[in-house]
Symmetry: D2
């Protein structure tokens, strides 16, 4: 039991809106990218990864977004479909845009960075007219991601989706997913993040992301409860603030708070931790589980993904997560 409700009569479990892009992951790792010779191509983008994760967990999912009219765009759509994600709201952009790219550099498991290509990216060309009221109405939950707010017309498309979601009782999850590219100023970022957060049921972000949203406020101590409380004055029911390896904390509108656990992992890279966490956590909440159990499920999913080479492709199934948790609890799994 948790404080969210999902309308069981709706056909679709979960849809996300926003970024669809390509990850090019260094094959030769533990070195600077200057010395990387080959790269492997995966579907990427935080909302894409979370949706793939939800689909792997057996949920009925769909996506609202734009892809470039090229080989990369077609690869993305094909991959989503192979993963049973509905793509009827994935539009092919004809404006000459390109697919956003993320080259990953893995110098060491603890020292990872990303080289982004976000100029003229297809996903940011999403338009309000691409957002179908009917499509959103038919979903139990909608996930929005901060990167889709970074630029017009994608920004307006997200606000319209939020409006439809609120109108039709669709639970809204906001994965802050702040990326410094594309945004013009810290103030611009804070204004739109705040306008969007006002309309969401569950807000998930790192402490640093919430700090960024508070650029017009006085939370000099970076107090998590101060942060969470604000949103309960709007529509939020759960606010999760992540502190990396120190775990996360969830607050509820009803005044509870839950400290999250972490699981051991043989870390290859840190990418994908947040997306797999979100998938596991949201999955749990949609099953009606307690918040703490949902957080545990997210943490286990995250440990699985950071032990793999990819983000999207490594998203685990229910069986994988259950078995991972079991092994950890039995002491069978020991991180090297």
């Amino acid at each position: 039991m948790n404080n969210l409700t999902f309308d069981s009569r709706k056909q679709m479990d979960f849809i996300a809106i926003g970024r669809l892009c390509i990850d090019l992951n260094a094959n030769e790792i533990n070195r600077p990218m200057e010395e990387t010779v080959t790269f492997t191509k995966y579907v990427g983008g935080s909302p894409a990864n979370i949706t793939i994760g939800m689909s792997r967990l057996g949920m009925k999912t769909g996506f609202i977004g734009r892809v470039a009219d090229d080989q990369m765009g077609r690869f993305i759509v094909g991959y989503l479909e192979k993963n049973q994600i509905d793509t009827t709201s994935v539009i092919t952009d004809k404006s000459g845009s390109v697919t956003g790219l993320a080259f990953t550099e893995i110098k060491s498991p603890a020292d990872c960075s990303i080289l982004m290509y976000r100029d003229n990216a297809a996903d940011l060309k999403l338009e309000p007219r691409d957002v179908s009221e009917e499509y959103i109405k038919n979903a139990k939950a909608l996930l929005i991601s901060g990167t889709a707010l970074a630029k017009s017309p994608s920004r307006e498309a997200v606000f319209l989706a939020l409006d439809y979601a609120r109108k039709h009782d669709v639970a809204v999850f906001f994965d802050l997913d702040y990326r410094p590219y594309t945004w013009t100023s810290p103030e611009e970022t804070a204004v739109y993040y705040n306008l969007a957060a006002e309309k969401c049921d569950v807000i998930i972000g790192t402490r640093e992301e919430f700090d960024r949203m508070e650029c017009f406020e006085q939370n000099t101590d970076h107090d998590d409860y101060f942060t969470a409380k604000k949103w309960f004055g709007y529509h939020a029911k759960i606010v999760v603030i992540k502190h990396g390896k120190d775990g996360s904390i969830a607050y509820t509108k009803e005044g509870e708070s839950f400290k999250g656990t972490t699981f051991p992992a043989n870390v290859i890279k840190t990418f994908g931790a947040g997306d797999s966490y979100a998938a596991g956590f949201i999955y749990g909440l949609m099953q009606g589980w307690e918040i703490s159990r949902s957080m545990e499920y997210g943490a286990a999913a995250a440990s699985i993904v950071i032990s793999s080479h990819s983000c999207s492709d490594a998203m685990p199934t229910v069986e994988q997560i259950d078995s991972y948790i079991q092994k950890c609890k039995n002491g069978e799994f020991v991180a090297k």
Copy 2:
């Protein structure tokens, strides 16, 4: 008595945010602009005009905006100061912007048009950091205008001002003031107008402006009550829908409605009618008058301004409006 409250302890009565520009009014009128030879320069821009109107009516006023770093910008600041408007929040833009211009063409009293210069306009360079929380906190009322939402960073500055106003119990008036320039698409316009309107106490616009805001809704009959009702679900207490010569209608959150009257006028041009109406109406509400009396005051102010050559410069004083109403009621005033 009306349903608004204003905090009498605050020092400033009324501040506006947004467009400050220059009107260049044709001196040779009743002909196409091609045949106009000379133009007279006035301060213009809907929120500027309303603020000048409020100041003429004896209110303590101020303005938040940006002007170009040139002769036109300095003329605007000088004119505001001459009209007792506080300009401490009027910033001189150093980016090389220019002052927005509006050349007016008066082919006949009923056939007026405007030739706008809005590229690289200084007023749209207003930034969130220009908006002082303290300045807004100290005002009883804030007026925002739709044109300031048309472009970043002015758009974000307005959303921040709205946030501060709600936080500090400042009554917010929204003059829709839709101008087709600068906006990218009808959907973009609707999204931001709606996001702003959610945060306002009083919303004033023409039927056509409200239609534009409803581009994602089904109000096929253009029903005024349908329009007004939506906003009472947010923060609105009064919604005024203007129907040009057919007068206006005001709805309250409490379920009342008021039909506005009009006064005779020897019309020179229709420009400035809306701004003077807003000034008179808001003045009345801030005096604590009944809504219907406030509407009458606005209508009288409008009749005075459309009988003059300018907008800003013709904004009437209390004495002028009172005397005009008196004359009309006595039958002394007969429109030619």
Copy 3:
């Protein structure tokens, strides 16, 4: 006799390409623009003024350019036609551009400045496809102006016009007319001015304008002969370097040089001096006059224009210039 030849079989005497705009001249002069209340509207833009000047002097003229699709654009076309200038190559731009504006400020006859509106200006939307090879082929002379090189696609249109002119033995005059607006960097300016100058027969500019072109060279003494000589290695036959009140100097490919005279004037403002000078000078050259007589004619035209309120509208006829020169020589004219 001079060193230029014009093909007498061609139907059109003189065509210009480039800027067509509006001057808004302060009516209340000898004060800062902040205190100016009314403005008078004139056609402006250096190549427009020169063409009007040439037409007043009885030449068969035409223009290649773009005007905005509004009242200002229609006023410009109407004025050109009233002045017997062929407008078949004046295109109405449909992209939503505006007419460039120049507000003049006349603080004193010696202290004049201009406030320019050049954002989204129609004249800079001129495209190569607007340039008719036939139209250029049929002209004895073509004048290009530096402002038209400031931005694409107008820049490319000018280079195409130059190409057609060289191909069909049209004498090319280059009025440097440097304006700091629109250009991105000093290097950009120098590169395109030099590329254009290589293809011209007569180059006319101020010392400061030539300095700007020499940003990649070592003419530290600002030596006029150094400046002129370079262009004789390309197609130039005459180079005129203007030194304001100190008169101008003309060099020929053949090695001659001519010092220009000036005439007295009751100066109202300095605007238009260069354009009227160019008209008078080019007219003289096209009559086959000696260079020194042509320079004198230009100087007299300039004195007439700076004694008037406008630029374009004050362009003198042959009778006016002849009479002015006569009066000056007779000592009848005494500048106050």
Copy 4:
């Protein structure tokens, strides 16, 4: 012997200006890119490839260009240096640009295409001030490439380099290298290609590229001699028009023409054929060889490169080319 002269006192043999980018070549070939999983990273860009080719052939080379301030940019500089190319004029761009990318798709040896990333590309940020007169003066030959003309400020940097080259007797090679990205219109392309070609000694391009340059001319038969002849009226001494598998034809100012041969190859992909041809051909000319022998050398180099996976990395040495020609002439080499 050929009709070019190179100043033997100059220290540097060959420098190029323009595009430095990254090729990401599909490892799994003979399929659509949608099915490609991994990519190998190489330095790319036509002038970069040619310079690498010249360096492999033993010439003293250098490069003028901009690279992004990231891992890709550093990889490029490192690779050039490893190939003995002087990088003192390779600037690291600090504007937040990215490295241009070219993903190659090899559906079959005859059906190859490229997916380009050219938005905000570092190489197009090259500025006139990056071009050192001294650096160009010290080179025997300069190569420019059409892509560097596609956008400001790189376009102006190339024109300045051309100016310095002509001033200091540096032989200029123009590899047309037309790419449809970045250019705004066919007319824009033609205007700048023509302006640049006027200043070059040797112009090398495909028939299609020359057609593009002739958009304002009447060469309806696509006649090669018509094409070449025009440039002999400027500075050109040799014009090479390439007809793909049908070989190429070279014209000289002196009226000769030479038909090029081709060599057999086990083609993997067609990319890099032009660049390796240029390197071999220019190398031959700089050795003082006959034009026909130089063309043969270029053709052999091309056959070697199209039989390999990469462009830059496969550029052959003198020994490799000599041996390849020998084998072909001996009949030892038989294309499969």
